[in-house]
């Protein structure tokens, strides 16, 4: 099993859209896939038309095992299951903090799913709190969508520093450009700079496309509704690259 977190300190950078589409593509290839909606806003859950309700509460979440498993819902797509989000997840931080080894609670909670799934995708809330540290420990890969603007780049640098200072495995951290408008000069420049300065920036790029935005109306992954659209191709390319990296991790 490999765990992939879609994470950014900022909101609105294309995390959920990427999580939903990458998870969909993994499942379409035949991998048993679970997508966990850790965001109290539950956008992923909304996309899959499921009621944002986690029956066992945060306490059940932390216990993991069957408390977690009983909440899993099959989506409309074969091989793809969802752990629905809940507004109560806003309190996950506080709940983690009450336990021993508070930064490893998520890792433990997901432990029982090890054999049931090939991939677990975590759609993460935009915070850099204890939950984020849990995510960094639990994930094999932390995928960061970066909009090629100065501010977004700055928060990416902050995240890199946070990884370094917190002694998280730096190799886990991979960025890809999201909501890219290639006709904007600034976007092209920022992308060039970042690629030059750092390894760990993926080739795959998700352009700014209305098909992605319209996912909120269709409530389906764009790769499912418009398989041959530009958006779908972009996610497919990104997924192939991510999959290759995961395979190299062994």
């Amino acid at each position: 099993m490999k765990t992939i977190a879609l994470y950014h300190i900022k909101g609105g950078v294309g995390k959920t859209a990427a999580a939903v589409n990458l998870a969909y593509l993994a499942a379409r290839d035949g991998a048993r896939t679970l997508i966990c909606d850790l965001d109290p806003q539950s956008a992923t859950t909304f996309y899959f038309r499921v009621k944002p309700k986690f029956k066992s509460g945060t306490r059940g979440f932390i216990k993991g095992g069957e408390f977690l498993e009983n909440n899993i819902k099959g989506t409309d797509y074969p091989n793809l299951d969802l752990l629905p989000g809940d507004l109560a997840f806003r309190n996950l931080d506080i709940a983690f903090d009450r336990h021993k080894k508070p930064t490893r609670r998520l890792c433990k909670a997901l432990g029982s799913l090890e054999t049931a799934y090939d991939y677990i995708f975590l759609d993460c809330p935009p915070t850099i709190t204890l939950l984020a540290e849990n995510i960094f420990n639990a994930a094999d890969m932390v995928l960061v969508p970066v909009i090629p603007t100065t501010l977004s780049m700055r928060s990416y640098l902050q995240l890199r520093r946070f990884f370094k200072n917190g002694h998280f495995e730096k190799d886990k951290l991979l960025a890809f450009f999201s909501m890219v408008e290639s006709r904007k000069r600034l976007h092209r420049e920022v992308m060039g700079q970042l690629r030059q300065r750092f390894n760990g920036v993926l080739e795959g790029v998700i352009p700014y496309l209305s098909d992605v935005e319209r996912m909120g109306i269709h409530r389906e992954p764009v790769c499912a509704t418009l398989n041959s659209s530009m958006a779908s191709h972009a996610y497919q390319k990104l997924w192939r690259e991510v999959e290759g990296k995961l395979r190299l991790m062994g």
Partner: protein, 507 residues
């Protein structure tokens, strides 16, 4: 967890409108996507996967090992292009490891290929979210052979909806039964899982006259030969020849150990026929065994010498090619056809058409007598063997044990199962011990013969090969001494067990 399928009792193919109407009584229904795929099921000739409730499925380049007891859930998978004959042909993966353990030297055979057409009907809730799927499935194995059915594919977390659909379909008087894709596919292709086993099993009524019983045993053995002949000729894997040879040996053993059941003059011809057939396959089997043991030989050598055996195995492989030709020529010859026709004609006759003095005795009586005789002979001969006994004595004891083993297998059904299997287990241990000794003797001899036939040794690589062979011979000799020194205890275990009671007295 079996799969439940629903069919129209009249065998009609339910059309889309009917299904939608039926399901729409309870749910908003969306008739949707279709999918077509072609899958093949694989197993070895002796159904090794099936016997472990497993199946290997190929779909394009995807290979999946599935658990037949758990609704064909995938246990391991791997992508592999092209043909896969043996487990070792797969890329390094969990799948390869698992298959290797189960299949060993057996090749994979394609059991069947089916085309599956599926049409999905989705039941929706208020959010337009799918809560259950009904899949109309058509499975076809050929142009004429096809099955059509509905099945429910439940979604995790929506069990209640799946149950509702189940009730709905049952109310509509659709015939339903539990099965699996595997069972359906094999049935359509006319395959019967588990229809071959290398284990000899035959039920004999105790009072059956010996002649009729022996005839049944021999017919069964002839059938095993026939089942394996095509696999030997096609050179699918080494076990076809092995099983064929075992059937020949069992036949010879039955004729030799149960003489007196048929008239001796009728049997003379058959005994010489089977001796000839057995002998014609010896060389090929020997070479198979060397080649199967390649890894084992190499592991015995120090690392620096492991590569040096390559010329030996290249040579053996070339020899094997020639030996295979000889065997296939033999099996396809007019002579073999005549021999088998003669034999089958004899087996088809009335059992008492060539009676010997024992023909009319109840089989249980004859079985007790012959097993007792052989058992006592083994005890006597084995008891005399010590560290200084010549190799030939151990060899003879091995043959005696084999003969006893065959008798026990022929007459297995006549004796209480539990005691019998305990005895067979003990005998197996002794046989393994003696077999190991025999193998080493033969290997030693073969290696020395090969070394003798090698060119002069002026070449460096030739010299290393000779060195490696020398090294192996030394190792084997040491092993031989070890096996010999442990013989006494193994034999003791066998001799002291209370086995005599099985056939000591008339029941």
């Amino acid at each position: 967890m079996a799969m439940k399928i629903y069919q129209d009792p009249a065998g009609e193919w339910l059309n889309e409108a009917d299904i939608t109407a039926l399901l729409a009584e309870r749910f908003p229904v969306e008739a949707g996507s279709r999918r077509q795929r072609r899958i093949s099921y694989y197993d070895s000739f002796d159904w090794r996967l099936y016997r472990k409730s497993l199946a290997l499925i190929q779909s394009g380049q995807q290979w999946e090992l599935v658990d037949l007891n758990a609704g064909e859930t995938v246990l391991a998978k791997a992508a592999h292009r092209g043909a896969a004959r043996f487990a070792e042909d797969f890329p390094e993966s969990d799948l390869k490891v698992r298959l290797g353990k189960i299949l060993e030297m057996r090749a994979l055979l394609q059991l069947c290929e089916v085309r599956i057409e599926e049409e999905y009907f989705r039941m929706l809730d208020g959010r337009q979210k799918t809560v259950a799927r009904v899949i109309r499935t058509r499975m076809a194995a050929g142009p004429d052979e096809a099955g059509c059915f509905l099945r429910i594919s439940p979604l995790r977390g929506y069990q209640a909806a799946a149950r509702e659909v189940e009730v709905l379909l049952e109310e509509k008087q659709l015939a339903h039964r539990e099965t699996s894709m595997y069972q359906l596919a094999l049935k359509l292709s006319g395959k019967q899982p588990g229809d071959y086993s290398s284990k000899f099993a035959i039920e004999l009524p105790p009072e059956l006259p010996a002649a009729a019983a022996l005839q049944r045993i021999l017919r069964e053995l002839r059938e095993v030969m026939q089942q394996n002949e095509p696999g030997v000729i096609a050179d699918i894997d080494s076990e076809f020849l092995h099983d064929f040879r075992v059937a020949v040996r069992r036949t010879r053993s039955a004729l030799g150990q149960l003489k007196g059941v048929f008239a001796a003059e009728r049997l003379a011809q058959f005994r010489s026929d089977f001796a000839e057939i057995g002998k014609a396959t010896n060389l090929l089997r020997d070479l198979d065994v060397y080649l199967l043991d390649r890894r084992h030989y190499e592991a015995m050598l120090p690392e620096t010498l492991q590569g040096a055996l390559a010329p030996l195995f290249t040579h053996l492989e070339a020899e094997r090619g020639k030996a295979l030709r000889q065997v296939t020529d033999m099996l396809r010859s007019r002579r073999y056809a005549r021999q088998m026709a003669r034999w089958e004609a004899f087996l088809a006759q009335e059992a008492d058409s060539a009676p010997g003095p024992d023909a009319g005795r109840p089989v249980i009586e004859l079985a007790r007598e012959r097993i007792r005789q052989r058992y006592q002979r083994i005890l006597k001969r084995g008891g005399k063997i010590n560290q200084r006994s010549p190799d030939a004595k151990l060899h003879r004891l091995r043959i005696d044990c084999k003969k006893l083993r065959y008798l026990l297998e022929f007459f297995n059904s006549l004796f209480p199962g539990e005691k019998m299997s305990r005895l067979i287990k003990q005998l197996k241990k002794l046989q393994n011990h003696l077999g190991r000794f025999q193998d080493i003797c033969v290997q030693e001899e073969a290696l020395l013969a090969f070394a003798g036939a090698m060119p002069g040794g002026s070449d460096d690589s030739d010299r290393t090969t000779l060195l490696a062979i020398g090294c192996l011979v030394g190792m084997l000799h040491q092993q031989k001494q070890e096996v010999r020194s442990h013989f006494a205890e193994t034999f003791e275990d066998f001799a002291t067990a209370e086995n005599g009671e099985l056939w000591a007295h008339r029941a």
